[in-house]
C-alpha cells in the first residue's frame, strides 16, 4: 500500500520536475531589464495643433528635483511636447513604462504617449500606447503605462515617448522627473 503510494508520488514527481524546468527556462527567457530616462532628456518640440513649423518652445527645469517642463502657459494637449528618444536593443519587447511626474496643476494634466514610425519616413508617428495624469492636483505622482507590447526593430523603426501638457498660468506645475521603460 505504502509502496504503491510512493511509486505514485515518484511518478508524479517526474512531470513536476519537467514543469519546473520549463518554468525556470521561461523565467530565464523573460528576464526583464529597465531603461531609465532623466526628465532633462526631454527635447522641447512643437505640436501639430498650432503651426506647421517653427522654433521649439522654451523648456524649464526645477533645479533641486531635476524636473523638466514645457515653459509655456495656457497650453492645450498637442501644442507642445517633450520628446524622449528611445534607444533599446533590437528584439527587446517593451512591456511597461512608468512615469514619475509632478502634477500640482488643477485641472491640468500630462498626456503621455509611446510613438513609433519607420525611421526613414516623414510619418507623424503611430500611437502605440497612451496614458493621462489626473486632472486634479495630485502632487508627485507615478503613473504606469501597463501593459505595453511593442517589439523593437531598429532596422526599420524609431521609437520615442511624447509628453504633452494641458496647463494654465503655471506651466511648472506639470513636469517630468523621470521615465522607466521595462523590456524583456
Amino acid at each position: 500500500m505504502c509502496f504503491d503510494r510512493m511509486r505514485e508520488v515518484s511518478r508524479l514527481l517526474l512531470p513536476l520536475g519537467i514543469i519546473m524546468a520549463i518554468v525556470l527556462i521561461g523565467s530565464a527567457e523573460l528576464e526583464a531589464d529597465d531603461y531609465n530616462l532623466l526628465g532633462f532628456e526631454g527635447i522641447g518640440t512643437l505640436g501639430s495643433t498650432t503651426v506647421d513649423n517653427g522654433p521649439p518652445p522654451v523648456v524649464g527645469d526645477w533645479v533641486t528635483t531635476h524636473c523638466r517642463y514645457i515653459d509655456v502657459p495656457n497650453t492645450l494637449v498637442g501644442e507642445y511636447y517633450l520628446r524622449y528618444p528611445l534607444d533599446l536593443p533590437d528584439g527587446a519587447t517593451i512591456t511597461s513604462i512608468r512615469f514619475y511626474l509632478a502634477d500640482f496643476n488643477n485641472p491640468g494634466s500630462l498626456f503621455l504617449y509611446l510613438h513609433s514610425r519607420p525611421w526613414n519616413s516623414r510619418d507623424g508617428g503611430t500611437l502605440e500606447a497612451i496614458k493621462v495624469s489626473p486632472a486634479a492636483d495630485v502632487g508627485d505622482y507615478q503613473i504606469d503605462m501597463d501593459p505595453v507590447d511593442v517589439t523593437i526593430n531598429n532596422q526599420t523603426t524609431e521609437y520615442w515617448i511624447s509628453v504633452s501638457p494641458t496647463n494654465n498660468d503655471f506651466p511648472g506645475q506639470l513636469c517630468v522627473y523621470g521615465i522607466q521603460v521595462t523590456y524583456n
Binding site: F3, L13, E31, V51, D52, R83, P89, N120, S121, Q155
Partner: protein, 223 residues
C-alpha cells in the same frame, strides 16, 4: 524490514530525482539564457541605432565663427524634421550635431540619413567625425555624404561602406549635419539618422594582445 528498505530506496530515488530535476532545470535555464544571448549576437551581427532629427544639437561651425551663442533651430511639426533656422548659411557655418553612443568594440559600417532637401541650389552635408575624448582637436572626418540637386524632395543619403572601429576609451564620435541653404532654411531638414554597426566584437577588450592582434583598434590580425 523489506518495507523499510523499499521506503529508504524510494526516498533516495525521490530525493535523487528532485535534485536531478532541479539541476536539469538550472542547467537548461542557464543554457537557454546563453543560447538566447548567442542567438541574439549571431542573428544581429549588424545592429542599428536610430536618432530622431530632434536630437540634433545646434552649434556654430568653424568656417563662420570663433565662438558665440548657438544658432536657433526649427522643427517641422507633423513630420518631425529639424533644421538650422538661419538664412543663407554656407556649409560649415552651422551644424546639427548628433553624438554617437555605441558599445565598445562596435564597428560602424554605415551612416544613413533621411532628410528633406527642397532647396533647388542648397545641399545638406553630412560628416562622421571623431576625436580623442580628452583633446581640443577639431575632429577627424571618417566619412561623408551630401544631398544632390537632382530633385527637390525627401531623400535617403548614405555614407557608403564604412569600417570604423569604436574605441570609447580613447575617442568620441558624432555626426555633423551642415546646410548650405538660402532664404528658406526650413527647406533643408533632418527626419532621422540610422547608424549601422557590427557588434560581433562588442565588449571584447583591446590592449592585451589576446583578443585581437592589434592592441589599440580592431583588426583581423590574429594574436
Amino acid at each position: 524490514m523489506n518495507i523499510d528498505v523499499t521506503r529508504r530506496r524510494m526516498s533516495l530515488a525521490v530525493t535523487t530525482g528532485l535534485v536531478l530535476a532541479l539541476w536539469l532545470a538550472g542547467t537548461l535555464a542557464a543554457l537557454a539564457g546563453e543560447f538566447s544571448e548567442e542567438t541574439k549576437n549571431l542573428g544581429a551581427d549588424f545592429q542599428y541605432q536610430n536618432y530622431l532629427g530632434y536630437e540634433g544639437i545646434a552649434t556654430l561651425g568653424h568656417w563662420g565663427f570663433d565662438f558665440g551663442p548657438t544658432p536657433p533651430v526649427g522643427d517641422w511639426v507633423t513630420t518631425h524634421c529639424r533644421y538650422i533656422d538661419v538664412e543663407n548659411g554656407s556649409e560649415g557655418d552651422y551644424y546639427l550635431r548628433y553624438p554617437i553612443h555605441l558599445p565598445q568594440g562596435a564597428v560602424i559600417k554605415g551612416v544613413s540619413l533621411y532628410v528633406a532637401d527642397f532647396n533647388p541650389a542648397g545641399n545638406i552635408w553630412v560628416f562622421l567625425v571623431a576625436r580623442p575624448w580628452n583633446s581640443r582637436e577639431l575632429g577627424t572626418e571618417l566619412g561623408s555624404t551630401v544631398t544632390d540637386d537632382a530633385s527637390n524632395n525627401d531623400k535617403s543619403i548614405n555614407m557608403g561602406a564604412l569600417n570604423v572601429p569604436v574605441n570609447n576609451q580613447s575617442h568620441v564620435y558624432w555626426v555633423d549635419v551642415t546646410p548650405d541653404n538660402s532664404a528658406l532654411p526650413g527647406e533643408l531638414c533632418v527626419y532621422g539618422i540610422q547608424v549601422t554597426y557590427d557588434c560581433t566584437e562588442c565588449g571584447v577588450l583591446f590592449g592585451d594582445g589576446f583578443e585581437s592582434g592589434n592592441v589599440s583598434a580592431w583588426s583581423s590580425v590574429m594574436p
